[in-house]
């Protein structure tokens, strides 16, 4: 068990390191550097940057140093919670991102919860009642879910909502709460706006997980331990829910490892369509404006949070599967 934990932890740390490098590469990739973009930004808005100021900035950001030194400097900054300044807003990046990061995570985690809550019962039903009408319907809807990218689903629903209800279905808050400080009422408002974006985000994942759950469970249903459980006089639902479903749950639980990155990815683009106040639209704006500190920071934070989420799901797996828990304890 300790070996497993150590392995997962080491991998998580390694992944986070890879993400920091990639984020740094993204920051550094565009021609020119932060200062040139800054000057361009200033002159575009009619401002003026003196030569001395440019030199000071270059020194401060270490732009006269070789790449790895810059990377180390940047990492030190990041570790101290300083992510640089967002050009367009002329405010620290952390301030610009603000609540948006947490809202991204709220939406993503809610989407995962929805995905699981839907996929599990549907998958179980599809497997236990294989080839029934319900199974065919689930399979059909599942195919649609696989084929319609989430942003397209959002577009279509947006259009339908506009056409038939004359209502904009986007956003995470009512106008009244958008800029308001956090109160219970605002949380409630958020909760009321959550279902649609989470359903859109979770749809494709649900379709995949239903397929996985169904296939896993079909595999397990014929196993001898199910037959012996039945031969012990347990009721059919108890047999199925306690034994094969429980076993099929393990590969299912491990899917969260790639489901989370997938959904976080999707949230970027769906947020843009639905106008959700997550980091998605911000990232896009930053990239188009070549505001690389902001963009790199968003990529970094999203990546790190995803890895942490994945690590937590590994812990969950550890808790539910005795085969891993007792590994090496024979």
């Amino acid at each position: 068990m300790l070996a497993y934990l150590a392995r997962r932890l080491a991998l998580a740390v390694l992944t986070i390191w890879a993400i920091t490098v990639l984020s740094f590469v993204i920051i550094k990739l565009p021609p020119g550097d932060y200062i040139t973009s800054y000057i361009a930004q200033m002159s575009a808005s009619g401002g003026f940057v003196s030569e001395a100021e440019v030199q000071a900035l270059r020194r401060e950001y270490g732009l006269d140093q070789p790449g790895y030194v810059q990377y180390l400097r940047w990492m030190t900054m990041v570790l101290h919670g300083r992510f640089g300044v967002a050009l367009e807003w002329k405010r620290p990046v952390s301030e610009v991102i603000g609540d948006r990061l947490w809202l991204t995570m709220v939406v993503s985690v809610a989407a995962i919860v929805v995905t699981w809550a839907l996929a599990m019962p549907i998958g179980i039903y599809s497997a236990v009642r294989q080839y029934s009408t319900g199974d065919y319907v689930a399979t059909f809807v599942g195919f649609i879910g696989l084929a319609v990218p989430s942003f397209m689903l959002a577009l279509i629903l947006l259009y339908l909502g506009f056409k038939y209800f004359n209502a904009s279905i986007g956003g995470l808050f009512s106008d009244r709460y958008a800029e308001a400080p956090w109160t219970l009422a605002k949380v409630w408002d958020l909760a009321r706006h959550l279902p649609l974006p989470t359903l859109i985000l979770g749809f494709a994942g649900t379709a995949q997980l239903v397929r996985i759950m169904r296939a896993n469970l079909l595999d397990e249903l014929g196993k001898p331990y199910v037959v012996t459980a039945r031969a012990r006089g347990l009721s059919e639902w108890r047999v199925i829910l306690k034994y094969p479903v429980r076993v099929a749950l393990n590969p299912f639980a491990s899917t969260i490892g790639y489901l989370l990155p997938y959904i976080v990815s999707g949230s970027i683009i769906v947020s843009l369509v639905l106008g959700l106040p997550t980091v998605g639209p911000l990232l896009l704006r930053a990239l188009i404006a070549q505001d690389m500190f902001l963009a790199g920071t968003i990529v970094l934070l999203l990546g790190v949070l995803t890895v942490v989420g994945t690590f937590l799901s590994d812990l969950l797996l550890l808790w539910i599967d005795p085969r891993i828990r007792l590994e090496g304890k024979q």
């Binding site: 331990y225 039945r230 347990l234 007792l326």
Partner: protein, 340 residues
Amino acid sequence: MPTDGRPILEVRELRTYFFPEEGTVKAVDGASFEVFPGRTLGIVGESGCGKSVTAKSILRIVERPGRIVGGAIHLRREGGTDPAATIDLATLDPAGLEIRHIRGGDIALVFQEPMTSFSPVHSIGNQMVEMIRVHTRLDKAAARERAVEMLRLVGIPRPDRRIDEYAFQLSGGLRQRAMIALALSCHPRILIADEPTTALDVTTQAQILDLLRHLQAQERMAVVLITHNLGVVAEMCDEVVVMYLGRVVERGPVDAIFHAPKHPYTRALLRSIPSIRASVRTKLPTIAGSIPHPYNRPPGCPFHPRCPDVIRGVCDRSEPGPRPVGPGQTASCFLYEESP
């Protein structure tokens, strides 16, 4: 052995067919036999002859697309004043309460592969306590106590610790012992053991068979032993049923079957056992041909294409019924004239 000469379980003309998309498979096609209290019935035959499906049919746990299409399975009721009172398992609702009480309560099942017969994610104790609590009114602590007791009874050392382990932590022999403990934890009247020793090595096999015999005497239960190993049959059984392609071809007391086999198939089976008395370097006889594909059952007697004594024009036309060939012994073969 206190027996009034009445069977505790009587299977009559059982037919269990499978209906996959491609056609019909007659896995069990008219099997009849009786099981007596305190005695052991052996069901032998090659793989695919319908032994396991017969066992599953008795417990009504045949998986789709299979189902019982004919015959009766009479189980004598327990403790009733009328010794003749029986219940036909074949007519029960397979998901109903009544059959569920019988499963594990009256008739228990032990499978070939103890590793896969236990849930990989539940401890042995968890599964035992669950079963005991389904069939008795014991509370959790008492059920656990009984489970520990059962594990001790089957010879598992330190049962109070082993109970919380998982099947994959035990050795093969201990696993099968645990499986037997699980099966017997509600004191069933009949134990169906489906190839209980096939997956074990030879010394462990002997121990498990010893254990079964010992427990049978102690619990006074009937045992149905399903196996393809004739040595095990000779050692353990009182009566033997020989099956071929879903049909019972011969049955009788174990001595008669081994010393005076009547059906050509039984004879061929016995000939194919290696004998210590055989002269060296003689080829071990095998049964000619192979088991037909389940979709292409031969017409007439199912064994006739491989039978050395086939009577052309008879065996390939109609199916022989069972005829008495000795005391308590019947064979389904045209070689033996129907008694008038």
